[in-house]
């Protein structure tokens, strides 16, 4: 039988067994946990290794791609290089071809050079021949010259004798005519002057509005004033586009009476009195010329033209050039120039050099009545701007005038000088009032045995260089005379021209006689 003690011991034993089993269980549990943890860890490790492997795979794939791209890139570069190489080969071929053609051309040049050398040689030979021929001709020339000189001298003597006879005859005629003035008609016929009387009465008809006065029936005489007046009158009647503008030209009949009678004849539509505003009315004149009219603008003296010089030079002279021929200015600026009697420093300057230095202007300076008529008519008809320099002291002087000059179509060429007196020892050039002085001086020189050739320039721009130089080449000496200031004057230009053209013909330096290099003195 089981006692409670046995039972309790069995229970205790069972308790101990169960405790020990519990302990074993726990130990097994912990072991199991441990194993489970280990298993988890190993699984995780496997997973990580798998990830690693996949990443490595991806990296290797990318690397493969990169290599492939590089390959492609290098292939394309190879293609480009191949193209360049082919191009360079082509250019090389072209250059080779050019080289051959250039070589041919060079050959041709060489051939041509050889030929021209031959031609040059032949020319040289011919020139030598010619120079020999020239030497021989020169010798002959010298011989003939000496022959003709002797005959020249005898000729000159004969001519002088004839001249003397002619002068005596002319003197006779002149005295006869002067006598006629003091003798009545009846007495004239009685003393045998019938021939002279007939010629006088034949010329009795009025040739001209302002008839030239006759002191000798051989030729008429006219003042410069009348010459200018008649010239303007005839040009105004010939061309309705010509009109006159200036101070006191109309009602006052002209400050120096040059435009006398024009207002009455042509009316206020053709002759305009202006206020004392040179800049204004000169500009208006030039503007009218732009539009096709032909103004004759009078300056009371050319000293006042300085107020309007901008219009003369910038608006008139330069227009044809600046517009390349579209706008021409057929205008004439006229008036007295240079010194008069006692008018003072501000009214006495000579402007010939100033205006003659401007391209585009034509500058004229008449001396005698014929010069005045011919040059003024030429100036009014000319399609370019003309500066017409008169001289106040010449207005009242009378000069002989030919029938031809009295004709209404008479015109002198612009740019041609006139040889007033022929000579062979020295050339004297001058213009305007100085021509009178120089002619008197030439007569005095002739008494001393020096024969002077006097040239009246007539045209300052364009200067007749041909005539001056031909005269200097004949006489080998030159004196230039003018009224204006010496520095940069007309004389300086003539001197320069002669030195450039005819230097080897000059026997002495050129002499200039000009106004003193001071402001004009009042009393002279």
């Amino acid at each position: 039988m089981w006692t409670s003690f046995d039972v309790s011991i069995k229970l205790d034993e069972q308790k101990d067994e169960s405790l020990s089993q519990l302990k074993e269980n726990e130990m097994l549990r912990t072991k199991l946990k441990h194993l489970a943890d280990q298993y988890m860890l190993s699984e995780q490790q496997h997973e990580q290794r798998l990830k690693q492997k996949t990443l490595e795979l991806q990296i290797s794939e990318l690397k493969i791609k990169q290599h492939e791209e590089k390959l492609i890139h290098e292939q394309s570069q190879m293609k480009v290089y191949a193209d360049q190489v082919s191009q360079l080969l082509a250019t090389e071929k072209n250059l080779r071809v050019q080289l051959t053609s250039d070589g041919e051309k060079f050959q041709q040049f060489q051939d041509a050079l050889v030929k021209s050398n031959e031609v040059f040689e032949t020319f040289k030979q011919e020139i030598d021949k010619m120079s020999k021929a020239i030497k021989e001709l020169r010798k002959e020339n010298a011989f003939l010259k000496s022959k003709t000189e002797r005959s020249d001298l005898t000729l000159i003597e004969l001519v002088e004798e004839r001249e003397n006879v002619g002068n005596l005859e002319a003197k006779c005629r002149r005295w006869r005519r002067r006598l006629l003035c003091f003798v009545s008609q009846k007495d004239a016929i009685r003393f045998g002057f019938r021939k002279e009387l007939c010629s006088w009465f034949k010329r009795g008809k009025r040739l001209h509005r302002n008839p030239p006065t006759y002191t000798c029936a051989l030729c008429a005489v006219m003042t410069v004033r009348d010459a200018l007046n008649s010239a303007i009158d005839e040009e105004m009647s010939a061309d309705p586009k010509v009109f006159v503008m200036g101070e006191e030209v109309g009602q006052y009949q002209g400050a120096y009476k040059i435009t006398k009678g024009l207002l009455e004849k042509y009316g206020p539509e053709r002759v305009y009195d202006t206020p004392i505003t040179e800049a204004g009315f000169t500009g208006i004149g030039v503007g009218a010329a732009y539009a096709g009219l032909k103004p004759v603008v009078e300056f009371m003296t050319f000293n006042f033209s300085m107020q309007a010089i901008d219009h003369i030079i910038n608006s008139a002279a330069k227009s044809n050039y600046m517009s390349a021929g579209q706008i021409n200015v057929p205008i004439v600026f006229r008036g007295p120039n240079g010194a008069a009697a006692g008018v003072g420093a501000q009214h006495s300057q000579c402007y010939a050099a100033w205006y003659a230095s401007v391209p585009g202007l034509k500058v004229l300076a008449p001396y005698s009545a014929e010069d005045a008529r011919g040059l003024l008519k030429a100036a009014i008809r000319d399609p370019d701007p003309v500066v017409f320099l008169e001289n106040e002291l010449l207005y009242g002087e009378s000069f002989p005038i030919s029938e031809e000059a009295l004709d209404s179509s008479f015109c002198l060429p612009i740019g041609k000088a006139k040889i007033e007196r022929e000579g062979k020892d020295v050339t004297i050039t001058t213009f305007s009032k100085m021509v009178g002085f120089v002619l008197k001086a030439a007569e005095k020189l002739a008494e001393e045995g020096i024969s002077a050739e006097v040239i009246n320039l007539r045209s300052i721009r364009p200067l007749d260089r041909a005539t001056i130089n031909a005269s200097v080449r004949k006489t080998s000496r030159l004196v230039t005379v003018e009224e204006g200031f010496p520095q940069h004057g007309v004389c300086a230009e003539i001197c320069a021209s002669v030195v450039e053209e005819s230097f080897s013909y000059l026997d002495a330096p050129v002499e200039r006689i000009a106004g003193a290099d001071v402001i004009n003195y009042f009393l002279k």
Binding site: G280, G283, A291
Partner: protein, 388 residues
């Protein structure tokens, strides 16, 4: 104004939209009446009315020609900076309304003479872009064969007498042309244009005195852009009312940025001059560039002033607004027109660049009309002198 809107709108309904732009330029002469922006101020005469008769064709042609002038001047600016144009270059942009308005009021028998700011006046008188650019660049196909330059454009067959460099000299010359017109009994007038700087010149008053004495049909137009080179008008003139300076000669002050006001004033002046003698017109205008290309234009005036005028008074903008408000063209069509103009100007410049310079022998031609040419003074020792 309302009446005009009605008429233009009715016209707008009748024409197909696609062909609106091209047709309006060529054939449309529907009359429009436009009010000037400011009233006229008169001296010794009755001012003309503010309503100006015009037509759609005229309005569009104003826009086109003014845009062309503006483009031409700006192109000249860039050519100058590129050193293709040398010497002087005086630009007219900002003052186009004066040139256009004047042309619209007169015929080619009426003469115009101006100072050196003459590119746009030449264009208005019938000159071509090619001639302008060739002359500016000194080429032989220029209007003065390359011998004149920027300041000496001439077109005698359209009675445009230049193009003068000496300030104020053109006014007596203009009175002289008017004298010739009266002498030859042509029923024409001369517009002698000058600036506020030249308005103080003595020869101007001398010429005005003679014009008034002899009743010459001369119209003196003062383009008052308020600056004589760098001097503002208040520093140069004791009395800046240039329209009153004629004293006994009537005058009219006009808003020079409004092409229609200019047109009305010129028409009025022409009628007046043919009957009563000279009249002075003062055009209140403005130039955006400096006096010439060597003047920046900002040392004597502020940039605000320049941009202010450009915003408020620009003549082309005014015409543009009128065109748009009268429904004559859309914004896009005007922009296309401006592009076309730009291309036209560029083509003219390219053609002018290709033109050769004048021959060296041209240096010696045209000095005189008749004979003599140039005397060659520095000639050889042996030969006689050579004359061309």
């Amino acid at each position: 104004m309302a009446l005009s809107r009605l008429s233009s709108r009715s016209k707008g309904i009748s024409r197909p939209l696609s062909a609106a732009f091209s047709r309006s330029i060529s054939t449309d002469t529907t009359p429009i009446t436009i009010e000037t922006s400011l009233p006229f101020t008169a001296h010794l005469c009755d001012p003309p009315s503010r309503s100006v008769e015009s037509s759609t064709q005229e309005l569009l042609s104003f826009f086109r020609t003014m845009a062309l002038m503006r483009r031409m001047e700006i192109a000249a600016d860039s050519l100058y900076k590129a050193k293709l144009i040398r010497g002087f270059c005086h630009l007219y942009d900002g003052q186009e309304a004066v040139a256009i308005g004047m042309e619209a009021a007169i015929t080619k028998k009426d003469a115009i003479i101006t100072a050196y700011r003459d590119h746009c006046i030449f264009l208005g008188r019938g000159g071509s872009l090619y001639e302008v650019f060739a002359e500016l660049m000194g080429r032989q196909d220029g209007c003065s064969k390359g011998k004149g330059g920027s300041m000496h454009f001439y077109k005698k067959d359209s009675s445009f007498y230049g193009g003068h460099g000496i300030v104020g000299a053109q006014v007596p010359l203009g009175c002289g042309i008017a004298f010739a017109q009266k002498y030859s009994k042509e029923e024409a007038v001369t517009f002698a244009m000058y600036g506020d700087g030249a308005a103080n010149q003595g020869q101007l008053f001398e010429a005005l005195n003679i014009s008034a004495l002899w009743d010459l049909p001369s119209i003196l137009v003062c383009e008052n852009n308020h600056y004589g080179m760098g001097t503002a008008e208040w520093r140069a003139a004791k009395s800046p009312s240039y329209y009153k300076r004629g004293d006994y000669v009537p005058g009219l002050k006009v808003d020079g940025m409004d092409a229609f006001a200019v047109k009305q004033a010129c028409k009025f002046a022409k009628e007046h001059a043919l009957k009563n003698g000279p009249i002075i017109l003062e055009m209140d205008t403005y130039r955006y560039h400096g006096h010439s290309m060597s003047d920046p234009g900002s040392t004597y005036r502020t940039r605000d002033e320049i941009s202010g005028v450009r915003q408020e008074r620009d003549p082309i903008e005014r015409i543009k607004k009128l065109v748009l408000s009268h429904d004559l063209a859309t914004e896009k069509e005007l922009k296309d027109m401006e592009k076309e103009i730009r291309k036209e100007v560029d083509d003219a410049i390219a053609k002018a660049k290709d033109c050769p310079m004048p021959e060296p022998s041209e240096l010696f031609t045209n000095v005189y009309v008749k004979g003599f040419g140039t005397e060659c003074v520095l000639c050889s020792v042996q030969g006689p002198l050579c004359e061309f």
